[in-house]
Symmetry: C2
Subunit: 254 residues, 2 copies
Amino acid sequence: MPPATTRSKAEPKLSRPVQVAEAIKDWVVEQGLQAGDRLPGEAELIERFAMAKGTIREAMRILEAQGLIKTRTGPGGGGFVHEVSRQRAKALLGNYFYFKDLTIGDIYQLRLALEPELAASLAGNLSEEVLALLEDNIAEYSEPAATLDEERQQHVASLRFHAVLAEQAKNPMLGFIIDFMVNLLSDLTVYRRLYSPPNLELWKQGRDHQQRLVQALRNSDGDLARSIMTDHMETAWTLMRQQEVEMQSRFISE
Amino acid sequence: MPPATTRSKAEPKLSRPVQVAEAIKDWVVEQGLQAGDRLPGEAELIERFAMAKGTIREAMRILEAQGLIKTRTGPGGGGFVHEVSRQRAKALLGNYFYFKDLTIGDIYQLRLALEPELAASLAGNLSEEVLALLEDNIAEYSEPAATLDEERQQHVASLRFHAVLAEQAKNPMLGFIIDFMVNLLSDLTVYRRLYSPPNLELWKQGRDHQQRLVQALRNSDGDLARSIMTDHMETAWTLMRQQEVEMQSRFISE
DNA sequence: ATCTATTTGTACGTATGTATT
DNA sequence: AAATACATACGTACAAATAGA
């Protein structure tokens, strides 16, 4: 784990559990412990830090809440260094944006900038299994939705297409951000304006984009993939704008 | 605060403190509490959840570690809903990437996609104070660095330029991501290859880019700002590539 | 399958620290 | 300055879970 960066401002005062948590973090880094490695048990930590049991436990909870450790009971149990999961990271970051009232436009501005880049970088780099997975996914919305609920399901499914791509990203940060945004959009409740029927033409365009995109990815045509994805994002954005979509922020828990 | 999303997989079992933390989170959302609002004191929580003091305290630590509450002692003290700070969010997200070995290339791929977008969106939207701040910042590296240490300082200062822009973003997510990346780069230790002298030409280009960028922003010329920033990012990337830069991941604490 | 040892998890009572009035 | 209200910290006792004999 990483050590604390230079503490710039003279912070007021850190509570003991936080101090202990930081100390354990630093110790883990110093020892070069890797994910899966066991850290000292409660008893030893109590002794080493000369703190009460409760204090140590609170420190462990802090590390656990940050996704850095897991704990198990029983013989051989204790705290174990844990790689922060993507799910946990998304949840923690989601808490930040909960207070920020993001708009759909904000998200699409980013998707428009990033997803074409991802598509281009994946061209020729996907296994046949993944390509097949993408095609199977598209099949879930080969026909227009009949009911409102079905439409909602299709919407989520079409977002899954992008989540699959995100997972394949060689650039961990690019993949994470796109995955995070797709999650936000999936969590949205979409209300379509009652008297505006779904735009079939745009829906069809979106589906075709995805089909052509898979072909471009298979043919290692990065430029084409990028351009299709750009069109796709613009279509999707237009579709969202036409529907009455309300951004409903909420906490994501792991 | 946001409620838990649908728990898809039957998770093994959540420890009591985690359960309590989730319950408090949900309760806060339900009550519509805002940042700054006080939540029930320890005593009341102990009563309401019928849990021991220690358990409640661990729950509070979890929420605190996630940046969702702060606690104060003394009369009128207790837990208070707190907007997750950008610093905290960056630290938590940094923990995720600590295990992911990001490369400089990964970061610049993203900066190249996002910073021009930010620049374009800021054109004509910056106050004269901010524009002056940017110009003052550029002045810190109006002359080539004489020493290695001075060069390092200039590098950090030139990154601050981008942090200032990020802070002005209307799109909270765009601003956050760029700020996060700038932080990562600032935290890097930069080792220049001993026998490769700094590339003065590129350095000069970078400085000029920033100057011209401020002008474009002042003149509300979004397209120009975007194009300058694109060039700037390409220059900066080339500069990083020429120097021997080692990505050194570490934990960021708030 | 049962017991046993180990280690975390929970509970409770008391004492201390800290800020408000 | 003193009393009050609250979190913070400590120590012990017991419960629950798990691995291994």
